[in-house]
Subunit: 202 residues, 4 copies
DNA sequence: CGCTAACCGAGACGGTACGTCCCGTCTTTAC
DNA sequence: GTAAAGACGGGACGTACCGTCTCGGTTAGCG
């Protein structure tokens, strides 16, 4: 009933229905936001009956939470190789791009609003943010250890500043943060040490 | 009808009703969020009749927008004197305190959500943020001009990073940004020049 | 406060207001009926403020009852002379005419409806009907005593039948009872004795 | 939508809801009258949601009219056999009993009031009265033809007088017409011919 | 003839019912 | 047995009046 991902649907129609409805739910959330999110809209969008939705998810929140939980993972890029600074630039650029325009990003206001009302959504939202930030933090720590950044830098604070800047653009201004300025942003928060030439020279 | 603040009500009851209802609306918004915001709930909270609300505001959005517009201004602290760095620390601490806990701050998720649906709310939200950020930006510029910060710093980007960090804590993590760490944050984004008269050395 | 007619208003505005409002109330009652009767309509009709009405009458029912009580008396005709049968025919014709078309008559459905809810209105309605019927009953009794009608006739039952016929037309059919048929009706209920000096034979 | 009786509801809940709500509407009408009739009160009485009512009837008047139209027929007694006079006595007694006390009868003032405002209600009210009166009229005509009553009698006028007397008691006096006096009333309006012994003797 | 008190209209107030819309649940029918 | 259709109880919406109340402005009639 909780619609968790572990339910190995015997009937292939079931899994198909679930996938279609989950996608419709995210679309609806992106378009209408949390407040105006309505099961009837999702049903219409997925060309399904309301009862089909309620058969698989307990209620609105259950559907939203499950849709988020199932849709996650698209944000984590492959860090590939390179210096820490390069990987960070890549990661930040990726986050900025996704934040600037994607269905998922358009759901963030809804996620924030929903997190106020439902603990499961809150846990997902905060946990997901924490995981993303942890990735960045460890990259920064690696950079400090590699001598790319000043040793006095608070890696977690820097990660918050970088991600905060990106989300600030999305949530508090008319224009999201420009992904092209990702490098600029990283340099501002994590100035490359003059003596450590970014691992490029030599 | 738009409930603007300029309406010089002849009947003293009018201004009183408006004030009480505006406060109730903000309380409701802080507690229930944008989606669950209900005029009937505001009326009950303000111990007013629904008709009294509709007499002064066209609809839900008109009330919310007017309540925000009227409630503004509480965020601007007195810059007082001191070096730019000191003023910035004070300002950031103030923003962090308000963000950590105030009725207004608890309305921010609602404001973000509402801005998606209503242009008036969007204009208020973005305009207000811009004004706040402009204040910080000009302080940073002054600091650069005074030789307190490195001349290469992008003042606006730095302001976004600082405010973004504070709001990131509020919106994306379980715990808001700790106001006690305001100085730390400012120093991380705007490292004091060692040679500058930052008010500390000598 | 009860708006009784005895209040010798010192200020001539008072009596004038009362008269205008009472008339407006009857007009409104005739036009809109009891259910749709509204103080605001009466006020608009009388070009008065609502408060002026509530200053003189406690509420809707008080106004209606007082308007009826003040307006009464128009129904009682002067029987003049003639035989009982002639007087009865005249009276019935008069009642039929008034019932067919007059402001007062158009208020009767409202009066019946109102009588269900308010004892004062009920007392007025029943009392007024009783007074009218009593007049007819005594005429019939006189006719019996004079030998114009059969001695076995139940005068009160006959009066009820005559008035009932007239009101039945008003309340239960599309067309009110035709006043021209008043004589016919009286003759049907009170057949003139052939031997009696009914004023017709010989 | 008009709630007519012909709607062959596929879902059995539909007919059940309609019946319960119609009964609640009549009860409310009998108790509160036309003016104070409220859909919300009917919903509470029927333990139904307001939306269920509006799903089946356009508005207040549609519900009232349909409730009346559906509830009709309870007034028609079994004519059985016997002489015309006997049948008339039975019919009048029946009408008097129903008029004296029944939910339907308690709705008559509301019906009269409502007929002033709504043509559908007016048509029902006048049509229903006409049908009832027609039954009585034809019985009287049959009685005249059978020699039970004087040939000069105007059957329709007599029917109006009889029914008018009964309703006069209900609408214009504190006490409804006593059913025990039905025979007395019929004899007063339709005196049995001395030469036609009512079909009793022999 | 000017003062004062009453009466006036206008309309804000807390309420209640309206008729509409949509929620999330539950029932029925069709495939 | 699953899905689509949609009836159900519920509740907020924004509107229209209710009857009460608080306003200044006008007007009558006494000093």
């Amino acid at each position: 009933m909780s619609g968790g991902p572990g339910t190995a649907g015997l009937d292939p129609r079931v899994e198909r229905s679930r996938a279609v409805i989950r996608q419709a739910a995210l679309d609806e959330l992106a378009e209408s936001g949390y407040g105006a999110f309505s099961i009837e809209s999702v049903a219409a969008r997925a060309r399904a009956g309301k009862s089909t939705i309620y058969r698989h998810w307990r209620d609105k929140l259950d559907l939203i939470a499950d849709a988020f939980e199932t849709a996650h993972g698209e944000l984590v890029p492959h860090p590939a190789g390179g210096t820490a600074a390069e990987q960070i630039r890549l990661l930040v650029r990726h986050v900025a791009e996704i934040t600037a325009d994607s269905t998922f990003s358009r759901c963030i206001p809804a996620l924030i609003e929903g997190a106020r009302h439902d603990s499961r959504l809150r846990d997902f939202h905060h946990g997901y943010s924490a995981r993303r930030r942890a990735g960045l933090t460890s990259l920064i720590s690696a950079g400090i250890a590699a001598g790319e950044f000043a040793p006095g830098i608070d890696a977690d604070l820097a990660a918050q500043a970088i991600l905060g800047t990106v989300f600030y653009g999305r949530l508090m201004t008319p224009e999201p943060f420009d992904p092209a300025r990702a490098g600029e942003l990283v340099d501002a928060i994590l100035p490359p040490l003059p003596s450590a030439p970014g691992g490029r020279e030599e």
